[in-house]
């Protein structure tokens, strides 16, 4: 966290706030409220209102992404490592990836009801493909010589996974998680608009509908901070696990 602490973000934050402020003054419409007013509103409603929404969203994102990881990584590893697996699964992935998951929402609700499950599943469905494609492709870029030491030791697949596939893919995996997190946050807008009264997606959408732009922007700010928090967490993970990459 050394170089990703407050004074890493502070200048950028201030810059963005100034930019926002200037635009809000130029446009001078309630559709772009001044950041001062938004921050004020945020301060007023955070603890009573937004905090609970943020927690709901956080849990759904984490659950969805977690599900995507534990099912996506094994499949991706198999696809990247075993040509045969790839031959069978790649066309299925290529065919199903572009299916617009949002259009499947009615089916999902029909099958999974309107509780927490379909929301998590929707995040899962969208994120898993990104994890899948990124990991599969990055396993394929490992030069085959990299495997020789382990092959020549007669390593089992598990050992190859632990000693080569996983460490080699980790940086790309974290990148794909970064991308997926961003997507997961966007997806909240589909998933948190039905069958719930909580979640940042619900909150922002509701504020929008109510033409309450102050609330809406306060929500956007909080969502960005959630994203920032998740990104920062990934940075920590990367620093910890990819020590060997550190350049002098």
């Amino acid at each position: 966290m050394k170089d990703k602490s407050w004074h890493f973000y502070l200048p950028a934050m201030i810059l963005l706030l100034i930019l926002w402020y200037v635009i809000s003054i130029i446009v001078h419409l309630p559709i772009i409220p001044s950041p001062v007013l938004v921050m004020e509103r945020l301060g007023n409603i955070f603890t009573q209102t937004i905090a609970i929404h943020a927690l709901y969203s956080l849990w759904r994102i984490i659950a969805g992404v977690f599900l995507a990881i534990i099912t996506g990584v094994p499949i991706a590893v198999m696809m990247g490592y075993y040509k045969k697996c790839d031959k069978i699964l790649a066309p299925i992935v290529y065919l199903t990836y572009p299916i617009p998951k949002i259009a499947l929402l009615p089916i999902l609700m029909l099958l999974a009801g309107i509780g927490e499950l379909p929301k998590v599943i929707m995040i899962f469905l969208i994120v898993i493909f990104q994890v899948l494609v990124a990991i599969r492709d990055s396993i394929k870029t490992i030069p085959k010589e990299m495997f020789f030491p382990l092959y020549s030791l007669g390593a089992s697949f598990r050992q190859i996974f632990l000693n080569i596939l996983w460490p080699a893919v980790l940086p790309n995996f974290i990148t794909s998680l970064r991308v997926a997190m961003g997507t997961a946050i966007s997806v909240l807008f589909f998933t948190e608009t039905f069958g719930t009264k909580y979640g940042m997606g619900y909150f922002i959408m509701d504020s929008w509908l109510r033409v309450n732009y102050l609330d809406m922007y306060a929500g956007i700010v909080v969502l960005s901070l959630i994203g920032l928090f998740l990104f920062g967490f990934l940075d920590l993970v990367e620093n910890y696990f990819c020590k060997w990459k550190k350049k002098v």
């Binding site: 020789f148 007669g154 080699a168 060997w244």
Partner: protein, 246 residues
């Protein structure tokens, strides 16, 4: 016992190895020497079970080469260290995979190879010669049935090289492990190989197999036969190389 019978390896449409025949009893050390690009590494890869695309019969102790059955200590030309493991972890990798890691780091070996101060470094932060010694340590620590070494001392200075050669000779004398090593140095071949195989290039084949009386003789350079034998091998090498283009 290593048996190779009519071995052919091809990439695309050209033969890389052609009609290789070999019979090496267990416990022998054998030096392979030959022109650049003649297929020495390829031959080692076949024996290590890494190159599976070949024709002909290759057997190690009566079975197909398979690292699952035999313990093979393999030192590839580019050292084959894993960049995300420290030196220590790289050395222990082989033992870990063969489920013998509990015996711990072979301190003696590590000392002899001059690695004691580098144990917590990552390979990327090592010099070429240091990396090569880590690779040696990994293979030697294994107590392998078969040692395959591809130019194992190439990145070492003359003095260190000789020390490492002695480490190997010691090891061999203790464990009598069958060894095939590729080298570019006639002297090295004469010191480390009971048999010396000279290869031809394009396509790679066996030009001559020489029985070497100088093996493991510390003073082999001073023996009478040394200069005649080394001249002979250099001659073979020249002919083998000029047979075709490199």
């Amino acid at each position: 016992m290593i048996t190779v019978d009519r071995l052919y390896v091809r990439y695309d449409d050209t033969n890389i190895l052609e009609d290789i025949n070999l019979n090496l009893p267990t416990g022998i050390t054998c030096a392979v020497i030959g022109p650049s690009g003649c297929g020495k590494s390829t031959l080692l890869n076949v024996l290590a079970g890494l190159q599976k695309n070949y024709q002909g019969l290759v057997q190690i102790n009566g079975a197909n080469p398979s690292p699952k059955k035999q313990t093979i200590g393999f030192i590839p030309q580019n050292y084959g260290l894993l960049p995300w493991l420290t030196v220590k972890e790289n050395i222990l990798l082989g033992l870990k995979i063969k489920k013998e890691a509990k015996q711990g780091l072979p301190r003696n070996l590590v000392d002899n190879l001059g690695l004691s101060n580098l144990l917590n470094r990552y390979p990327n932060n090592l010099s070429g010669g240091q990396q090569q010694r880590v690779s040696l340590a990994r293979a030697f620590a294994l107590k392998a049935d078969l040692l395959l070494m591809d130019e194992p001392f190439s990145a070492l200075d003359a003095i260190t090289r000789e020390e490492m050669q002695d480490v190997f000779i010691d090891l061999w004398q203790k464990q009598k492990v069958s060894t095939i090593l590729v080298t570019h140095y006639v002297e090295e071949a004469l010191y480390l190989g009971q048999k010396i195989i000279v290869m031809t290039s394009a396509p790679g084949g066996i030009y001559k197999i020489i029985d070497n009386p100088l093996f493991s003789d510390k003073n082999f350079r001073d023996r009478e036969i040394f200069s005649s034998l080394s001249k002979e091998i250099r001659n073979y090498l020249k002919k083998a190389g000029s047979k075709n283009e490199r």
